[in-house]
């Protein structure tokens, strides 16, 4: 139907080809200006980038869409009669405050009991945090509203109060004090010290910290955590965003003692979902083994914070939570020194000891971590021993399984060909050919593993592997005396590609295998006796690829379901 109209509305050819990164930056700056109300910038932007005007208009339209008429009018003061008592109702409950803070009512002063809400300063799985003024004492506090869906039954409410009061009685120079726990109009909340400053998450966003600075911060945090442990509280959700920094840069631990209430309750009501942030969670917690959570789980959390402070990124970070959890359970973090070459070896050792999968191999307490960091700062020898060769080997196996498995296969293959060479006395050049192929494959594997360590190039490395493995197999098959046995390599490659949990990768791998097998048929016609056998084999490869991809898709669907049932973390 649009056919004839197209000619009257020619689409201009983009005069300046730009890459995705540049385009994103441009659009991002536009939308930021738009939302900040900087019309002048927007106009200039459109003038500077005439070929992107249509995209900009698209963003304009979305921006217009957002503003509900009633509230914009109110702000403009044009309608003096309240159209809906939306503010009155909105103010009562947190959920609407929640909508209001990002929505039309932002910027209005709101009363909540004796508190005057000033602005939203953060939100998490448990609730929304506001900066507020406590009118009777005329002081600024941070007010945390507990999301109602987190506390359904009376028993849970009671439990929340008990835990919050226990946590509230604690005072320490490195923890954020709780002043009050209460309820107004069905809304549970607690009031804490307001810390004017940032959090460690804000600090590490700009890259690694200086080693000494990181160690000093962690000493404070570890002492505070030990203080909590001494009072029977396990934090359970230690992460950089829960470590606030005041104006003087002193670290303060917040959000302690409550994770337990919500955690256990989650276990009962929504099995399979969890509270906490996967990237910083110890494996026992990520696996849902709640009973195994102990002070040593917090030692892991300290390690995770230290890791981020030293490298600028969490120990594990994948593009979906379930992949992150798999990493937490099965893999090892990239060695910090690979991400920050100037990192002292002692600090790396301390960090990795905290991050041990097995709690009994971590430091016994938070105090031990603090003392150890103290030793590092005083240039004394630290107590953590360098990992033995065996332990280091195991870690490497877990960390770089892709590379390790390929090297292992190669090692066995070289042994076999070596033995064959020894017994059959074949000519040397043939033997060298095979060796050279193995060597280049090994080199390629090392290079891909290097790319895999970096988040930006990881996808490239995975695709590279999916495409070059069948190629290498093709070379081996071309040289082999008898191909039938070695053909089993194709299904192995396809099955292994499923371990990445990416359907696309399985499909790429399957396609490469089939293409590689097709090429083999073209090269070695003599090896095929019956014409229909290759067809059967190719079909089998396609079926295996389909089955693996389907299985991967199933797992992902399930994990998406669990991601949705859990409140945002």
């Amino acid at each position: 139907m649009a056919g004839p109209m197209m000619t009257t509305n020619p689409i201009p050819i983009d005069p300046v080809p730009i890459d995705d990164g540049q385009l994103f930056d441009l659009l991002d700056s536009y939308v930021a200006a738009l939302q900040a109300g900087d019309r002048e910038y927007c106009a200039r932007w459109q003038a500077d980038h005439p070929h992107l005007v249509e995209l900009a208009q698209c963003l304009d339209l979305l921006g217009n869409f957002r503003v509900p008429e009633n509230c914009s009018e109110k702000r403009a003061g044009e309608a003096d009669v309240p159209l809906v008592d939306c503010e009155a109702t909105v103010i009562k409950s947190c959920g609407c405050l929640d909508a209001a803070a990002t929505g039309p009512l932002a910027g209005l002063a709101r009363n909540f009991g004796k508190y005057e809400l000033l602005e939203e300063i953060g939100r998490g799985g448990m609730g929304v945090v506001f900066k507020a003024r406590q009118s009777d004492l005329n002081r600024i506090v941070a007010l945390k509203m507990i999301l109602s869906n987190q506390l359904a039954a009376d028993a849970e409410v009671k439990r929340f109060y008990r835990e919050a009061r226990a946590a509230g009685s604690l005072r320490h120079p490195h923890i954020v004090g709780i002043h009050e726990v209460g309820e107004i109009d069905g809304q549970h909340y607690f009031a804490m010290d307001f810390i004017a400053g940032t959090s460690m998450a804000g600090l590490t966003r700009f890259g690694p910290l200086e080693s000494e600075r990181a160690a000093q911060l962690l000493i404070g945090v570890a002492r505070a955590v030990q203080f909590l442990h001494d009072h029977g509280i396990v934090h359970r959700d230690l992460k950089p965003s829960n470590i606030l920094l005041d104006a003087a840069g002193t670290p303060l631990v917040t959000d302690f003692g409550l994770a337990k209430v919500f955690d256990d309750q989650d276990e009962r009501t929504q099995s399979g979902t969890m509270l906490g942030t996967p990237g910083y969670m110890p494996p026992e917690q990520a696996a849902g083994r709640i009973s195994e959570i102990s002070p040593r789980s917090d030692v892991y959390g300290l390690g995770a914070i230290l890791y981020e402070a030293l490298t600028g990124r969490p120990p594990f970070r994948e593009d979906t939570p379930h992949r992150t959890i798999l990493q937490v359970l099965e893999s090892e973090p990239t060695l910090p020194v690979k991400l920050n070459p100037r990192l002292p070896a002692e600090l790396e050792r301390i960090c990795l000891k905290c991050l041990e999968k097995d709690p009994s191999r971590r430091y016994g307490s938070a105090t031990e971590v603090a003392d150890e960091l103290d030793r590092f700062l005083r240039h004394e020898p630290i107590e953590a021993r360098p990992a033995g060769i065996w332990a280091r080997m195991l870690r490497w196996l877990r960390r770089e399984t892709g590379l390790a498995s390929r090297l292992a296969i190669m090692f066995v293959a070289i042994l076999v060909t070596q033995a064959e060479h020894y017994f059959s006395h074949r000519d040397l050049s043939y033997h060298w050919d095979i060796k050279l192929a193995f060597a280049s494959w090994a080199l390629l594997a090392v290079i891909f593993q290097w790319f895999l360590r970096r988040e930006k190039t990881a996808e490239f490395a995975r695709l590279g592997w999916a495409m070059t493995d069948p190629l290498f197999l093709l070379y081996v098959l071309k040289q082999a005396d008898e191909i039938e046995t070695i053909l089993v390599g194709y299904p192995v490659i396809i099955a292994a590609s499923g371990l990445w949990f990416r359907e696309r990768l399985v499909l790429v791998s399957t396609a490469s295998c089939i293409a590689s097998y097709g090429a083999l048929l073209a090269i070695r016609r003599e090896a095929i006796s019956l014409v229909h056998y290759p067809v059967i084999f190719m079909t089998a490869l396609a079926v295996i690829g389909g089955v693996v991809a389907f299985q991967v898709q199933r797992v992902r669907t399930l994990s998406r379901y669990f991601e949705q049932t859990k409140p945002d973390v």
Partner: protein, 216 residues
């Protein structure tokens, strides 16, 4: 199904109020995506886990349907504004229900009654300094934008709603969607490109001068 951009809401409103059932149906059909997208923009993600956005949409359209005779506005802008207010109000109700607090029926009734715009001439000055035709153009585009957003895949919708409508920073969007920040940024850019493509197609498919909706 006609594009909502071809629909003259003012016209439909008039007919619907005169008792034309099919005009009424078409009016609500045309606004469905608008309300759905607005509902999702209104709802924080934690609430979404508990409430199906479609309940909110259903409730809103139902109340608008019931209250249509009390609504006296004539333009599309007034109509959409009215829908939006009912929506905001219902969202508040939904939230309150999860807080275990009794709904205040009285409050709701007030909202419908005050949807009567003849009492509030202020409304007609809706968008301040813009010329009436400009306002009309934008409001009309609102329905079109909502339709276009509704055509996006679920991921694209989510990222556009969080970033553009709820105006969250990418860091926050990434957290909500449980993906890395670079992944979310890429997703967003693709979503905007796709959206523009859809809007463009509709512009091309759109007749130069508006056809009247089919005579009944």
């Amino acid at each position: 199904m006609p594009f909502s951009s071809n629909i003259n809401v003012g016209d439909l409103l008039q007919k619907a109020r005169a008792g034309d059932e099919s005009a009424r149906d078409r009016l609500f059909q045309a606004c469905r995506n608008y309300v759905a997208i607005a509902a999702r923009a209104e709802m924080a993600s934690w609430l979404k886990a508990k409430v199906d956005a479609s309940d909110l949409v259903q409730q809103t359209l139902l109340e608008a349907h019931r209250g249509l005779n009390d609504f006296r506005g004539t333009t599309e802008a007034e109509w959409l504004g009215w829908l939006r207010r009912i929506l905001v109000h219902n969202a508040a109700d939904f939230v309150r229900r999860f807080h275990g607090v009794e709904k205040r029926r009285a409050g709701r009734e007030v909202s419908i009654a005050t949807g009567d715009d003849s009492d509030h001439p202020g409304l007609q000055l809706a968008a301040g300094d813009q010329s009436p035709s400009q306002v009309l153009l934008q409001k009309e585009r609102q329905l079109q934008v909502a339709d276009a957003v509704a055509k996006l895949s679920e991921d694209y919708q989510e990222v556009v709603i969080l970033r553009n409508l709820q105006q969250l920073a990418f860091e926050e969007v990434a957290q909500r969607m449980g993906r890395s920040r670079p992944a979310v940024q890429m997703l967003w850019m693709r979503a905007i490109q796709k959206l523009q493509e859809i809007l463009n197609q509709e512009d091309c498919g759109r007749p130069d001068d508006d056809h009247e909706p089919d005579p009944d």
